[in-house]
């Protein structure tokens, strides 16, 4: 039995972006970005539920790439940025999109992103995970997977892992393992060699 250290949660802080509502033209802009669409969260959640998973993943990655780009623009050398700085900047961008509050947990060597107060609900966790994957891909250039571990109340947790490891984790979760057990098995030497 391996005892995991207590998670280090780094909450994000919301910056003060400039949101412009051009009611005459019917457009919403964010700090001079391209026009955005303000849609009900419930409708988006239903779309994610009925849509093809690959389409949802592609949609989410697209959103994440933009978030990553904006975060990288706000941070000088994001590859050397601290955990707190990254969480603060990326979390602010996600908050502007209305996807919830971002925090980062470290369980041993595992990186777990938690999003609380997400308005989309459980049906849209795959979408939020895809957004996180797009952020890491665009900002850090890493091909990573954000596997939904489950929800505790309104807080959804996503394990950041390589694509091969994501398959194994999804298998464990399908077998009924809790997210705590998954995190524990990640650090066992036997599990290290499993595909």
């Amino acid at each position: 039995m391996i005892r995991l250290p207590k998670p280090v949660a780094t909450p994000s802080t919301v910056l003060a972006p400039k949101v412009e509502f051009d009611l005459a033209r019917g457009q919403i802009t964010l700090s001079g970005s391209a026009p955005r669409v303000l849609v009900p969260a419930e409708a988006l959640s239903l779309l994610c539920k009925d849509a093809d998973p690959e389409a949802v993943q592609s949609f989410g990655r697209r959103l994440g790439v933009e978030v990553g780009r904006r975060a990288a623009e706000g941070l000088n050398q994001i590859s050397r940025a601290s955990i707190e700085a990254v969480v603060e900047r990326v979390g602010a961008e996600l908050a502007l999109m209305g996807l919830g509050s971002l925090a980062v947990e470290r369980w041993g060597r595992a990186l777990v992103c938690s999003v609380s107060a997400a308005p989309l609900g459980l049906e849209a966790d795959a979408l939020v995970g895809s957004v996180l994957e797009g952020v890491l891909e665009d900002a850090f250039g890493r091909a990573a997977r954000a596997v939904p571990l489950g929800r505790v109340g309104e807080e959804a947790r996503f394990l950041i892992i390589n694509p091969n490891g994501a398959i194994q984790v999804e298998k464990w979760l399908a077998q009924g393992s809790s997210w705590g057990q998954v995190l524990e098995r990640l650090h066992t030497p036997k599990s290290q060699g499993e595909p």
């Binding site: 250290p5 994001i78 590859s79 050397r80 940025a81 601290s82 955990i83 700085a85 990254v86 969480v87 980062v104 470290r106 041993g108 060597r109 595992a110 990186l111 890491l136 850090f140 890493r142 990573a144 394990l159 950041i160 892992i161 390589n162 091969n164 490891g165 194994q168 984790v169 990640l186 650090h187 599990s191 290290q192 499993e194 595909p195």
Partner: protein, 244 residues
């Protein structure tokens, strides 16, 4: 002198006394110290011997003498005071408390200027007698102490009834194990020789902790190096290496 003659003299004397009484006196007779009045002397013939044989029937005479004391005149001498009973008592007491001539006068402490006084030699016994401690100790040990006196309880005579003891004994509280506490080995209980008690009472269940025969040597291998990523990218890479 016959009886009739004596009576006759007494009657004549009485008449003379009565006659002199009524007659006034020319010169006041001086009184002596005791204040008694001077009495006129009688002739030898007038003296009647009363000690003679008394008549069988004394004549009935009523003679009344009025005792008078003449007050001394103003020009008279100062009367000499007679010794009072108080003076006589003091004089008697002085005579009573007079020390006898043969009695020895006690030695008084000389005044300070007379020098040191020689100490009176005191005769001491040849060997001081010490109390016998051995006998005294035994006697004191046999006696009850003062605290025990008054608390004496008379016990009843022992009976032949056997002791009834409960087979269930209270369990000792189980010590709570703590990670930071290490229990030291306890000393083994000394065997108590109670053959009679063992024969009658059931043997108790005693659980003892077996002390390790050898001491455990602690080995300091290395301290666990906790993962402390400095950047987010470092943590991201570490997480991506899991299940790789």
């Amino acid at each position: 002198m016959t009886h009739e003659q004596e009576l006759e003299k007494l009657r004549s004397l009485l008449e003379r006394v009565r006659a002199n009484r009524s007659r006034p006196r020319a010169v006041a007779a001086p009184t002596d110290g005791d204040g008694a009045a001077e009495v006129e002397l009688l002739d030898a013939e007038d003296v009647v011997e009363l000690t003679a044989a008394a008549p069988s029937e004394p004549p009935e005479l009523e003679v009344t003498f009025e005792e008078e004391r003449e007050e001394p005149p103003v020009s008279s001498r100062r009367p000499i005071a007679m010794p009072s009973p108080m003076d006589e008592a003091l004089a008697g007491a002085a005579q009573q408390f007079e020390a006898p001539p043969e009695r020895e006068i006690p030695v008084k402490t000389p005044p300070p200027e007379s020098g040191p006084q020689a100490a009176v030699p005191v005769e001491l016994p040849a060997e001081p007698r010490l109390p016998e401690m051995e006998g005294l100790r035994e006697e004191l040990a046999a006696r009850p102490t003062t605290a025990q006196i008054g608390q004496t309880v008379e016990l009843e005579a022992p009976t032949r009834a056997g002791l009834e003891l409960s087979s269930e004994r209270p369990r000792a509280p189980v010590p709570v194990a703590d990670e930071l506490e290490a229990e030291l080995p306890r000393a083994q209980a000394k065997p108590v020789e109670r053959e009679r008690a063992k024969a009658e009472l059931p043997s108790p269940e005693i659980t003892r902790r077996v002390a390790p025969a050898q001491t455990v040597e602690a080995k300091a291998v290395s301290a666990h190096k906790t993962f402390q990523p400095r950047t987010f990218a470092e943590l991201l890479d570490a997480s991506l290496k899991l299940l790789e």
